[in-house]
Amino acid sequence: MKRLFPVAALAFFVLLPVWMRDQYYLNELIVTGIFIIAAMSLNLLLGYAGQLSLGHAAFFGIGAYVSALTSLGFTVTIFGFEVTHGPWPAFVGLLFGIIASGICGFLIGKLAFRVRGAYFVIVTISFAEVVRLVALNWVELTNGPLALSNIPPITLGFDWTGSITLWGKIGNYYLVLAFIALAYVVIEQLVKSPFGRAMIALRENETLALSVGVSVTKYLVLAAVVSGAIAGAAGSLYAHYILIIDPMIFMFLNTVTMVIMVIAGGKGTLAGPLVGGLVFGIAPVILRAYVRPEVQWILYGALMILIVYMLPDGIVPAIARWSGGVAEGKSGKTGS
């Protein structure tokens, strides 16, 4: 029964382009989808492990830059040595982007989980700012504010199989959709396993978690690695879709967007970031048609306040309560 809803939602979005071929709307859906992946990754850290990362755009941006640079190639001089990297296929870039952000998640986790709560928040903000400054000033590598352009789109397949390059909207739409489904399954497997339960235990009651043998650093670092890697995947998809990135990708607003999606949708629920992401991804598109930009932002803010005020746990837990069903994640006798 519980499987029914995600599968129905997936089927709906698979079929959506059959009747909705408007390029503008498809574009909005793709970008929203990419941010939903990033929000899902943040949800693992914020919703399940209970640690607020306010530098999540850093993982997103690192994934984008690493992926773009891998596929574009670059020449930099480090300590007098010239290092040259030739252009590699975009999907290798995607892979490297995921790995690089995962490693950053590991380092931040190791560093920051000695301190938690407000200190962790500060460390993550600083991390994002440092990375932004590097991207802005290491012009030789990143082109600085002039942006990395001509990023190749992702090509699926190999020479011997024949391949397709995802230039258009439809191809990217399905690529992003596939990654959302993949991220969903990865996070679902994780949070319903002993690994995820250890994270939830640390979020709920750290002292008690310790007393039954849960290691704080091990599981928080694991959450940060997986979260960073998934955010990196989102960033990479972004780079190979938009085809141009600049240091603005690290801006705080991107992090805030992810946080809003998670909080509004319902942190600590699998569907939360998806629902929150759709609401806050689609709302601007609808508003844009009727009101001027300034009014849009005000309404956007009002919508956010309304949701947080009326549904403090987020949309998904509220729906779960209304429908009278057992809330998500409450597994039991019949759970497998």
Partner: protein
């Protein structure tokens, strides 16, 4: 009968010359005692005698100012609480301590962490080994819930349980961690007589399984009834260490409990 059989056991937990000072305040002055394998040892004493402090030192939540705690011969200095739990030394807490927003079932499932040796890759791929492990864990939860008598409340939230059941769930959580030695911190405080009776039954069941128990408790009839041996603390020092019958007659213990006014007890 079990008391006779186990009193000759090897020391499984040794507290050697442990002292704890908070600034200028001495919580524990000098504490030395052993808990033998299979034994039920009670640690009693007036409020503020240092019982909970001793628990915190033993389980690694507090560093002693001096002294050593050994479990199965291994010094515990420098180990984190989760590492000590991983050795099989598990505690409960004095104040009710549960995963409040999780169901009874989930609480115990979390408690089984030590036995859940899932592999990350297998988990992400949903491999058969990890599925089977998850199934085993769920069966284990039912076994533990049955043992403490909370099977019928499995889907209630931890926070919504009546007080006595919350304490039982606290013990279930500790049992889930597969202890060799279990430290119970005032498990029946605030319980009514029938709840206490139920709890004593549980402790007897656990003992019959060979579990070593260190108990801190104020309920004297209960302590006298179930302990093999009692250690009495006062102002951070041991004033008696003997069988319950001897403790009841010990003049210094009576003085500590009844106060200075009774000089000729």
């Amino acid at each position: 009968m079990s008391g006779e059989a186990t009193s000759a056991g090897e020391p499984i937990l040794s507290i050697e010359r442990v002292a704890v000072h908070f600034g200028g305040v001495t919580a524990i002055a000098d504490l030395t005692f052993d808990v033998r394998k299979g034994e039920l040892l009670s640690l009693i004493g007036p409020n503020g005698a240092g019982k909970t402090t001793a628990f915190n030192v033993i389980t690694g939540f507090l560093k002693p100012s001096q002294g050593v705690v050994r479990f199965k011969g291994r010094p515990l200095a420098g180990l984190k609480p989760n590492e000590i739990a991983a050795l099989g030394l598990v505690r409960t807490f004095q104040r009710t301590n549960l995963f409040d927003k999780c169901s009874v079932f989930e609480n115990v499932l979390i408690g089984l962490h030590r036995r859940a040796n899932a592999r990350l890759v297998g988990t992400l791929l949903g491999l058969p080994r990890e599925r089977r492990l998850e199934q085993d864990l769920r069966e284990k939860v039912w076994e533990i819930l049955g043992l403490v008598g909370l099977s019928d409340q499995w889907r209630e939230l931890g926070a919504s349980l009546p007080y006595g059941n919350q304490r039982l769930l606290g013990v279930a959580l500790a049992l889930a961690a597969d202890p060799e030695a279990l430290l119970l911190d005032e498990p029946v405080s605030g319980m009514n007589a029938s709840e206490t009776g139920r709890f004593v039954e549980l402790i007897r069941k656990l003992r019959s399984r060979g579990l070593t128990i260190l108990l801190v408790e104020h309920d004297m009839p209960m302590v006298m009834g179930i302990s093999d041996r009692i250690v009495v603390l006062n102002y951070g020092r041991i004033i008696a260490n003997d069988k319950p019958e001897a403790i009841q007659k010990d003049p210094e213990v009576i003085r500590a409990y009844l106060g200075q006014g009774v000089r000729h007890a």
